[in-house]
Symmetry: none
Subunit: 536 residues, 2 copies
């Protein structure tokens, strides 16, 4: 059976930029466009030329992509021709082969927001699309508020779509602009639109996640016959975000009925890079990746429940709906007080530690983990600290160096300009290869800003570890989490530190103490010791 | 038309605890159970009695709730009677009126994971449920892997459900255990199950978010006739989480066809507390609330696109699918204070500050809050810091005292018994009534343990404030939360401190700085100043 073609239209660079707190630079946009192209989307909507300097600059530098680059804009205003509308002219001037224009499909909005007649709006749609087509370009029409409009006045909503279709639009995109439509009604309405004569292979769908149904609404539209999906990487977008292509792509490629029915430009190889693409976007935005993200989150294939973990060890298929490596992710069987010896051995094997089934060290390690969890430690995420604990129990942990003492000072006072400024300073004394070494660092960054006591300690600790210093050069602290928790009978501070190195490794360590600086120091020490186990 | 009853079953305390990194204490569980009860869910699944000490302790303290408290466990093992299965006995011993047992509905799992015959499994299900019913309790059967099982062997999956139903189970819950089912197939299968003779008003659905469709799968099951939804607050749960009740509840109450067709125990008033419930859970977990969360996220009603913002000012209905106040959330319109001012006046009045509608200070306060939120401050919980900021803008904030400088030292070294010990010491210099005062404190508690630098600072700061010292005597620090967050372009530390006094007041203050000690100091200062505003 021939598979039908399904098209993916990415709007991360346009609608994704409407996310609160997101502002891409031109170079961010270039990097994301290249990643989207490698992934295999069909269209990359680059922005609204003329709306802001970054979007205009991006189109000027126009990256060469296999995917079609689309400029976004709106239909011309009433009372002038398409050629004489300077907002539309700026969009056309970006010179893309594809242009997508948003226009009203809901009669109420035509009157209330635009203040023009319903016929004027239809004329604006038709004339604008015809203007694009006359220049030999491919035109898309984003029918704004289509679903609400259709529910209020189906004839007018369809008339808006037909105006675009008749003028030569390649795609009519049904937009659920305020995110309020639910999957069942999207399915029903798309079915009715096709029955009214707009062909499914000319229909796209653009949904938002305001009810947590953006992905499901997209699938419902495809089930009903639409053949283009608009969405964004990691579900970025206005309010609660757009349909998440990172979730949709593996569902369409790996799961039925989609896998057998449709084909896209996304290859198996590109799919295996999906987790990397998702985390790259978080890196650009300086966000911590969501652990629970479908398919690509660090927890997406983590099996914590004892019942699940023991079955997974026998057969991963028992509790996994797809194999994690298909999307470039990995299975995790975290340690916790729910775990037993079977997932402990599995976890140890993943850290390169093969331990026999009957080794008494297994019981010792489980007891130590339980005892430490009672003190406030947590090894669910701090896998690197878990490995060090296990290595020590197995007698496979080198000492490397010994910390003799440290001292941190935090001071806040007026500077000579009478402004309050703060400064932290750390002194660390270690013994390496029988030799005592003193290091001191302060907490200032490149701009002279104080980064605090943990920063100063981290720098002082790594500064002079003799033969080990070289190994630590490519290592950096990327995240730092603090929580107050119960340790035995009193409150303690738990610090979790995420570190990264030049080889692309990322690892997490934990420290616990009533003293927050001391808890941080313990996590920092583990981070360094883990890196030394790997590389020295 | 009579509306049909729809039941909500919350498993935050059981399946929610399977989230990587989540470990509730007994008191966390009590607090969450009370919030769930106020919200109006029908069932609160408290945990698996006997599986770990926290779950057992929670059932021992058994909070009185309107909602039914359910204990979770698994069907008895083969080769023994239900009464003689000690795992099941521990579940029964929790003494709850409702018991939910998970059992296999997928033939492959019966053989591969349990290693028993298909008939033995059916006998285990029937006998276990009958054992619950015989004790006069309400029984639920969680049919594990139901959807995968039904696709492989529908007769067996249905036989497992019938075994439970015939034994007297009130509810048969169809579980999509590995999260792989898609909404359309969930809808189709539930329809077939009902057609096969299992009544819809005895059917529940339990879905996971591995394809980002947990909410949609739950709705599809309800559309097909199921009448109980299992889910968790904020979609907590194993791997990618469970169906998010925080998203489902407003959809079921506010949107069609659900609002007209169904009734639940959730009142309009409880719904208006939904945002607070969601953020309370994040507080307990010390997580930063997701801005893009449907309905309750800080961005859920934020209108960034210029096109949207200008229409929203004319008519909020244009770009909002529901009114934000229905779920206790608020609209955010950048570059427009219109919406914010009335909320602000309400909040000021709560702090005893009556401000006229046209007072220019309102705009000033909103601008300052926006600026500070950009720097990483958060005034959602830190009501006392908000009040101080407003008082300053209104010219109603006395100075009390001025901090000239402080210095904190944290030291860790070997003591005379060759044990590593740590000690923190703080010096604070203030000017009160024109007089300079130096105070020094160290961080040791009654047992000689080091409580860390913030403890030392807190004591030194309150030690000698001249005429104000007496007022501060009944005040103490009760909680301390630390988060790394985004401040402008770089990561900063946000500290929130909860304080309490002898009059039973409890108040929260916030401090932000790249330096964690400095952020803590700022929050401590606000805590003291708020107390002085009240009592001096």
């Amino acid at each position: 059976m021939t598979r039908e073609r399904l098209y993916l239209y990415d709007t991360t660079l346009r609608d994704g930029q409407q996310t609160q707190g997101v502002q891409f630079s031109t170079s961010d946009k270039m990097q994301i466009a290249r990643a989207l192209d490698e992934l295999g989307v069909d269209y990359i909507e680059g922005g609204w030329p003329g709306a802001n300097p970054t979007d205009s600059a991006f189109f000027n530098e126009a990256p060469k992509t296999r995917a079609k680059l689309a400029a976004f804009g709106m239909t011309k205003r009433a009372g002038r021709s398409a050629a004489n509308d300077e907002v539309l002219a700026a969009v056309m001037n970006a010179g893309t082969d594809t242009v997508c224009l948003v226009g009203k499909a809901h009669d109420y909005h035509v009157s209330a927001a635009l203040g023009i007649t319903l016929d004027e709006n239809l004329e604006n749609i038709g004339a604008s699309i015809a203007h694009i087509v006359a220049q030999g370009r491919e035109a898309l029409f984003d029918a704004e508020h289509f679903f609400d409009g259709y529910k209020d006045n189906p004839d007018y909503a369809l008339a808006a779509c037909r105006a675009a279709l008749d003028a030569g639009a390649r795609w009519i995109v049904l937009c659920d602009t305020n995110g309020g439509a639910l999957p069942a009604e999207v399915g029903r309405i798309v079915t009715e639109v096709i029955a009214a004569g707009i062909p499914g292979d000319r229909l796209g769908v653009h949904t938002h996640n305001d009810t947590e149904n953006a992905v499901a609404c997209s699938l419902a539209a495809v089930d009903a016959g639409a053949r283009q999906i608009q969405g964004t990487l990691n579900g970025l977008g206005e309010r609660c975000g757009n349909a998440n292509l990172i979730s949709l792509i593996p569902t369409l490629l790996l799961k039925e009925p989609y896998a057998s029915r449709f084909e896209t430009e996304v290859t198996e190889h590109a799919l295996a890079g999906l987790t990397r693409v998702s985390r790259m976007l978080d890196d650009i935005l300086n966000r911590v990746p969501m652990r629970q993200s479908p398919y690509v989150g660090a927890s997406a294939f983590a099996h914590k429940a004892g019942l699940h973990a023991s079955a997974i060890v026998k057969d991963p298929g028992t509790y996994e709906h797809i194999a994690p490596e298909r999307v470039g992710n990995a299975r995790i069987i975290p340690m916790s007080n729910q775990a037993g010896q079977s997932n402990l051995r599995k976890r140890l094997a993943e850290a390169g530690l093969e331990v026999a089934r009957d080794d008494p060290a297994l019981g010792l390690i489980l007891d130590q983990i339980k005892e430490r969890e009672d003190q406030g430690y947590s090894y669910d995420t701090a896998q690197a600290s878990f490995e060090l604990l296990a290595r020590a129990a197995l007698g496979q942990m080198p000492e490397f160096f010994e910390v003799k003492r440290y001292k941190v000072t935090v001071e806040r006072r007026k500077n000579k300009y009478n402004r309050m400024v703060s400064l932290s300073e750390a002194v660390v004394v270690v013994k390496v290869d029988g030799e005592k070494r003193l290091s001191v660092s302060e907490s200032l960054d490149d701009t002279g800003g104080d980064r605090g006591p943990v920063n100063a300690l981290s720098k002082a600790l790594a500064k002079d570890l003799g033969q080990y210093s070289a190994v630590l050069e490519d290592m950096r602290l990327v995240d730092f989490k603090v929580r107050i928790t119960q340790g035995g009978t009193e409150a303690v501070t738990r610090v979790i530190i995420d570190s990264e190195d030049g080889k692309g490794r990322r690892w997490s360590t934990v420290g616990v103490s009533p003293n927050i600086v001391d808890a941080s120091f313990e996590a920092l020490l583990d981070a360094i010791r883990w890196k030394l186990v790997r590389d020295s």
